[in-house]
């Protein structure tokens, strides 16, 4: 895969994370996550072409199945079932959210974190973008009050870490990667079940209404 294609995929990862912050509709967030996961799948596919490892192809297929198809379908069904069209409000308003996004992106590109982005010097920009996506995904979880947005935030964080690992040449054995994806699958199922349970108990997936842990 050409360097432009790899840069394009890094751009998709970064932009999809920003889109997750700005979208007001849950369906838009799920679609953005699906697109982001597809970009990760293509990055893994690129690794397969480089190594020609059959096990890595298996990882690509499982990633495609779980992250691009299965998890988004699961979330879409949840949105339709409980009519969760619009996402819950955020802790910070849009201008402040944008300012924080800029701050985190600047931090990821700063010299302070240059030991991380210089792991492979020729991938410095790519690693900076992946690091930005890590920070922004973390911020997404903190900033969003909706349970579904938090789930997508966690999954986006995982995608960003995987992208960072690929760009830094830190991919692990396919067997362990399959273990991680299996973990993500179970996590997605459990988190989705929890969203349903939260909706049934609280009549909303807004986590700020959960105030029963006072004593």
């Amino acid at each position: 895969m050409s360097i432009f294609a790899i840069q394009f995929l890094a751009g998709i990862l970064f932009l999809s994370t920003i889109f997750l912050h700005l979208t007001k509709k849950n369906f838009g967030a799920v679609t953005a996550y699906s697109v982001q996961s597809f970009a990760i799948t293509l990055l893994l596919l690129n690794s397969f072409f480089e190594t020609k490892s059959f096990h890595l192809l298996l990882v690509v297929l499982v990633t495609l199945l779980i992250k691009v198809i299965f998890a988004p379908t699961f979330f879409t069904k949840l949105i339709k079932k409980y009519q969760l069209t619009f996402s819950i409000s955020t802790q910070l308003n849009t201008p402040l959210t944008l300012l924080t996004i800029v701050a985190f992106s600047a931090m990821a590109h700063s010299t302070m974190l240059s030991p991380l982005t210089a792991i492979i010097p020729e991938h410095e920009t790519l690693l900076s973008l992946a690091l930005s996506a890590i920070f922004l995904s973390f911020f997404l979880i903190v900033n969003h009050k909706g349970a579904l947005s938090q789930i997508i935030g966690v999954l986006s964080l995982e995608n960003s870490i995987v992208a960072f690992a690929i760009y830094a040449g830190l991919e692990q054995s396919p067997m362990l990667e399959l273990g991680i994806i299996f973990d993500i699958l179970i996590w997605s199922v459990i988190a989705t079940v929890f969203v349903s349970m939260i909706y049934r108990h609280f009549g909303s997936i807004d986590t700020s209404v959960m105030k029963h842990l006072t004593d």
Binding site: S53, H55, I141, A147, G169, D183, I190, T207
Partner: protein
Amino acid sequence: MELLIIMVSLFFAAIVSIWIKKGHQILEWISGLASIMMLFASALIARKVVIFGDYSPFALFSIDALGAILLLIISVVGFTVLIYSIPYLRKETAKNIIGFTRVKEYFILLNLFLMAMVLAVTTSSPIFAWISIEATTLSTAFLISFYNKPSAMEAAWKYLIINSVGLLLGFFGTLLYFTSVSSADGTGLTTWQSLLENAATIDPLIAKIAFIFVLIGYGTKVGLAPMHTWLPDAHSKAPVPISALLSGILLNVAMSVILRFKVITDSIDYSFSQNLLIIFGFLSIFIASFIIFTQKNYKRLLAYSSIENMGIMALGFGFGGPGIFVAILHMIYHSLIKSSLFLSAGNIFLKYNSTKIANVRGTISALPITSVIFLTGFFAITGAPPFGIFLTKLSIFSAGIKLHSAITIITIFLTAILFVGFFKHASRMIFGEKPNEITQEKENIWLIFPPLILLALALYLSFYPPPFLHTLITNAALGY
């Protein structure tokens, strides 16, 4: 072979339980047998580690002295908790709080939880350890929301999200350590040993950043402040036996992962990881000491005591030298005593139907044996003599007084505050006039026996730590 026995028996117990349609006793027997197998196999593994050193039964697995200690803790506490769970769940079923499906769910998840912890402490792969620790989150999330109440749901959600985010940060830190052994084809299995052997080649700055991520990530699971917020909620909402496992075992399992990364970081800069452990340990003790005063729920009280004790351990590991030996000893005592305290708190809950301190009075007349166990456990956990924790706290403070005198002196003061705060609540619960609606009945021997055994074991180990355990702790202290 022994490790395989543990895995197969726990997995088999979980899977078979899924197919059981009726009969509590079958569920209890299957899980009971699995935990007995785990107990014996763990003892055999520990024996092998004492005699031959690190034990690697097959690829991806290697058990060192610390792993053997944790395996023993998982087995002993796991077995005792399982024995306690049987009458506890029967009582809850009799009160119509839960039905058969819930009991089945409990035993399935309990076995998977124990299996995940065993995998985490026995694997030689840092990534596999991460997968296993993440699996502990997944297996316990539904156990925390077990009672299906809004507050339990909230606690479980908080637990799931905070721990998942924490563990992902830990995963990122783990990957950064791999820069020293990265393979272009990505097919190599990186082990703790290979990371340690290649530690000299890692960029010191990357290693430091990686350790920060690991400490924050796995520190969330350990319950170190300020990432501790999930812990009191989860411990107070989960069924009591699960709280005992969370506090008594899981926190230590996560701590062991931090220690493995500490060793790697120490080979680059010895003081960096030590200072961070001291800061986080001190902060945990500080927060727990003051929050404990305002607690209204006795399970939360015990949870904050766990945060304090994990802080003490972090201090011990941070001070280094003899501090490491006593921190491991403290880990053992804390596991046994805290599990005993949670189980006796379970007896109080079954009697008073409340976890609020204000609703519990005069337990000494309603539950005399449980009260004695609880009171003794309180003295033991707060570090009163003659219990081992008195000695371990004293030794950790001695290890720190010379180089970190200010922190050590403030910590001594904080532990005194914590003792007063804990005693204030414990004495209110135990003494005083019991409510009229609370009757005095003969206590169920099977609800008394498990916490009593754990406490007696802690007391016995305080005076006569057996030579094999001493060898294991010494070897573990040398390795970390």
